[in-house]
Amino acid sequence: MNAKKTKSWSLEKTFDVLMWVLLIAACLLIVIPLIFMFTSSAMPARDILRMPYPWIPDGFHWPNFWNALRGPEGDFIFIRNVLNSLIVSGTVALFTVVFSSLAGYGLAKFKFKGRNLVFMLIMATMMIPFEAIMIPLYMVAMRMGLQDTYTGLILPFLANAFGVFLMRQYLITFPDEILDAARIDGASEPRIFSTIVLPSSGPAVATLAILAFRSQWDSLLWPLLVVQSDEMKTIPLYITKFMAETHSDEGIMMAVAVMASIPMITLFLTLSKYFVSKEGLTSATKG
C-alpha cells in the first residue's frame, strides 16, 4: 500500500516535469521569431543570414535604425507614415467608443418601439465581412472624393457592431436606480450619459478601444484601395512598398519591423489585461 502510494506520487511528479518541459519548449518555439526580429534589427545585414545564425548581436548596429527612419529616398517618410497610422487608429478607436457606447446605452436602458429590430439589424452587420463589401465601398469613396484622405481611411470603420454589442451587454446590468436618481435631480440625458454612464464603463471601453486601435493598425486591404500618395500611406502600406522595392538590406528591414511594432508592444505591456480579456475574446470575427 505504502509502496504503491510512493509510486503514484512519483508518477505525478514525472507528469508535472513533462508538462513543464512541453510548455517551455512550446514557449521557445513561439518566441524565437520575436527574438530573431529584435536581435537581427541590431545586426548588420551580412550577419543576419549567416549560417548558423549568430543569436547575439556583436554590438548594436545603429545604422539599421537610422536608415530605416531615413527611408530609401532619404525623406523620412516612415515617420509621417507612422503618424498616419496613429492618427487613423486613434481616431477610429475614439469614435468607435463614442458611437458604440451611445448605441449600446440606448439599446440597454431605453424602451422604444423597434428596439429589437434595431438591435437585430446591427447584429446582422456582423455577418457582412468587410472583404465582401470593400469594392462597393471603394467606389463610394471614389465618388465622394475620399481617396487619399484621412476621412476616407477612417469613415467606414466608425460603426462597429461588435462594439455596440459589447457596450449593450456591459450596460444592461447598470443599476436603473442611479439613472433615475440623476433624472429626478434634473440631469439631462446627454449629461447622464457623459458624466455617469461613460465614466463607469472603463473596462468595456478600454477593451473596445484597444480592439479598434489594433484592427486599424493592422489594416492593409482598405488602405491599399483608398491611399495613393506616399504621404498618406499607413505603416502596413509603407512595409508593403518597402518589401516590393528594396528587398536588399535585411538589417533595415528588421529595424522597420521593430519600430512599426513599438506602439503595439508598448500598449500590450502596459494594458495586457485588456488584450487578454474575456470581452475581447469573443471578437475574433472582427479581427
Binding site: C27, F99, A103, L107, M253, V276
Partner: protein, 303 residues
Amino acid sequence: MRQSKGFSMERKKARWGWVFVTPSLLLFAAFSFYPIINAFYESFFNRNLLSLRPPSFVGWNNYTYLFNSREFWLSVQNTLIFAAGTFIPLVVFSLALAILIMSISRFRRFFQLAFYSPAVLSSVVAAMIWLLIFDPRGLANQGANSLFGTTGVNYNWLSTTGMLRLSTIIVYFWKYIGYFTVVFVSGIGSIPETLNEAALIDGANRLKLFWYVTLPLLKPTTMLVSIMTMIQCLKTFSTQYLFSTAGAPTRPINVITLNIYNTAIKDYRIGRATAMSILLFIVMFAFTWLQLKVSRTEEVSHM
C-alpha cells in the same frame, strides 16, 4: 393626471433611445447595408473601372464566368487548402497548450502572455519576419536541416507550390496560436471546480479527468473556436499579399480575397470582383450565423 405624466416621461425616454442609436444606425446604413446591396446589384453588371461607357446589365454572366474560370477555382482551392491546413492544427494545438497551462499551478499568466505575444504584431510585420526566416540561408532551413539530420538542403520554403502554401500556413498558425490558447484557457477556467473535485474523489486520475470531464465540457468552446478560425482563414489576405509582393510566386497562394483585389484593381473588372465578393459573403454568412448560434448555446451551458 399622474398617469399621463408618467406616460409622457416614457415617451420622452423612448425619444432619447432613438437619439442614442441613430448615429450608429446611420453609419451602418451607409457603410454596411448600402454596400452589400450595392454589391449584389453591381455583380449583375459589367462595370469597368476605367471605361467611360455606362455599365450594361449582363445577368448571371459574371457568375457563370467565374464558375467556368480555372483561375477562380484555383483561388477557391487555395483558400480551402489554407483554411483546412490552418484551422485544424490551430484548434488541436491551442487546446493542447491550454490544457498544459491549466495543469500547472504557477506562471499561468506568464505563459498565456508569451504565447499571445505574436498576435500583437501586425500581419505585415509577421509576414516580414517570416520572409527572412524562410530565406534559403535563414532559420527555417537551418532548423529543418538540424531536425532531419541533413546538411545544406534547401527546403524551398518560398518557391515550390506545396512549401509556399505551408509557409503561409505557418505564419498564420504562429500569429494566432496564442490567441486561441487564451480562449481555451478561459473555457477551461469556467468549468466549475467542484466537478473536478467530485471526479477526483471518485478515483479518477488526471488522464481520466481530462477525457471524461474536461473534454466533453469544452465541446462548445471547441466548436466556437473552430468556426472563428474558419471564418478568419477564409478572409486571409495580408500574408499572401506581402509574400507575393516580395517576389514569391502568386499562383499557389492566390486566395480568394487576393483574387478579388487583383480583379478589381489590376484588371478593373468591378462586376466580376463583386460577384466573387458575393460568393465569399454567402459562405462566410453561413459560418457567422453558425457561430452566433453556437455562442448562444455556449452561454447557456455556462450558467
